[in-house]
Subunit: 283 residues, 2 copies
């Protein structure tokens, strides 16, 4: 997905939030904001929002602290999600269509996203809503068909905490899963540590993509991951940043997400607040 | 009031919104955003948010169109407010404390503000809420005292449409009113044309301050206005931008506003959504 001008203020807000989480003084926060504006003033054509987010968070690390500013938030998100885990399992086992319920739960977990807003959402309320919501885009039938023919699925994770919700979905998938996390911290995206804390290792093989960028920017991933990606017969890609980086990367990819900002809403053609299963198109 | 880093993304959002209202192409919108970021990267110390807003809207006029981008929005706001006018008058005349009710109605009108968000608010709902709301800061007693001793009041207007709500308050003030509008269009701030469309001329003398900036930046106002301002025994200053430019300009000034953004909330010490009558302090 291309970058929209509406993303510019959002990146500055994100830079400022990350700077404050990292404990930066006013002057360092100011430098991060100035450097972010300089970056935004000189974007190369065709750059995607996750690539910019990656650079913004590198600026924060360079200017303030190399320690992950989102570590505490990610831990809290995972703990909150784990608190719901038994209830989420019950919802699936008591459901008439356990796979659909598990897909919806995984999409509900996508509300955890500190890239879009600083707000902590009520997870219970979100689950309740998403379980009864009509899909804005529903390529669920095509996804089920692919699940019948594929021998495994590559599951591209999004945020820490959301990992617990993904675990619920993985438990319902009929084929083995490789769960892909980030190679290094960026925003509140899940790393190996976050996936392990969510217990994903009990249901899937976990690999990291080698990148410190949100979404899946193949040019930034390690070669071993690229091979795994190319070999995958089916890819489930969670969240906005994966949509932003892979929306035109081919029909084996299915994006599962909540529409959380007007820019994605416009690009994908679904209302803010909507839930989506979207099979990607070829470039 | 000083500038906060949180204002930076807000200015870019505002620049983009104004560019679109002005009918700018993508490349012109992009140039406005880049120029706004350059401006924000080189702010002189001590600059206030309304001064920056003034320059942002000058960039829009220079890059896209000298015509007022907010003209249509302002007209629509005034018409919507005029539709409520008879009902608002009834509320005042049926009230136990007509002056307090009129003050509240004038503050309710302050919800009309396209500097803070692009949203059109439900005016009826806002009036209902503000009539029953507790003041977050209430220097109303001091204001009433000043109204007893002053021979006239200088009333610094804020936005078009809000002008109709101000007219309701002016009708209840026991002393003559000079109503001050902007000298040229900026954001959705009221100009002479907007005040006349609201019928303010039937209850007050209207003068313009000569400036094309939100709020009241004395260094940008025409000399004749400065004289009027200095001679005024009492000033009622509406809205966030007047608070931002006059918060420390002396005890004859009373700011009437709704708290619509986290930055003002932090600066003034009142919650977002709150209503305020605040006597200003000396610098």
């Amino acid at each position: 997905m291309k970058i929209y001008l509406d993303c510019y203020p959002c990146f500055i807000r994100q830079a400022l939030h990350a700077s404050r989480l990292a404990g930066g003084s006013f002057s360092r926060q100011h430098r991060v904001v100035i450097k972010t504006m300089t970056l935004l003033g000189k974007l190369r054509p065709g750059i995607t929002p996750p690539e910019i987010a990656c650079r913004v968070h590198r600026i924060v690390r360079d200017e303030i602290s190399a320690t992950d500013p989102y570590q505490e938030i990610k831990h809290a998100s995972t703990q909150a999600a784990l608190g719901l885990y038994p209830k989420l399992r019950q919802l699936v086992s008591g459901s008439k269509d356990p796979l659909d319920t598990a897909i919806r739960i995984s999409i509900a977990g996508n509300i955890i996203d500190f890239g879009v807003s600083e707000r902590h959402h009520d997870l219970r309320e979100t689950v309740e809503k998403v379980l009864n919501q009509k899909y804005e885009i529903d390529d669920g039938a095509a996804l089920r068909l692919k699940l019948q023919s594929a021998d495994h699925v590559l599951f591209l994770a999004d945020n820490a905490g959301e990992t617990v919700f993904d675990r619920i979905l993985i438990e319902q998938l009929p084929i083995p899963v490789i769960y892909v996390v980030k190679g290094a911290p960026t925003l509140n995206d899940a790393t190996m540590e976050d996936a392990l804390a969510a217990g994903v290792d009990s249901v899937a093989e976990i690999v990291d993509n080698g990148a410190d960028a949100p979404g899946t920017i193949l040019s930034m991933c390690r070669p071993e991951f690229i091979d795994i990606y190319k070999a995958a017969p089916l890819v489930i890609a969670k969240g906005q940043a994966n949509y932003e980086s892979l929306s035109n990367a081919g029909s084996k990819i299915f994006c599962l997400l909540q529409i959380k900002c007007p820019v994605i809403s416009k690009d994908i053609g679904a209302a803010v607040g909507g839930i989506v299963i979207r099979q990607c198109t070829a470039d």
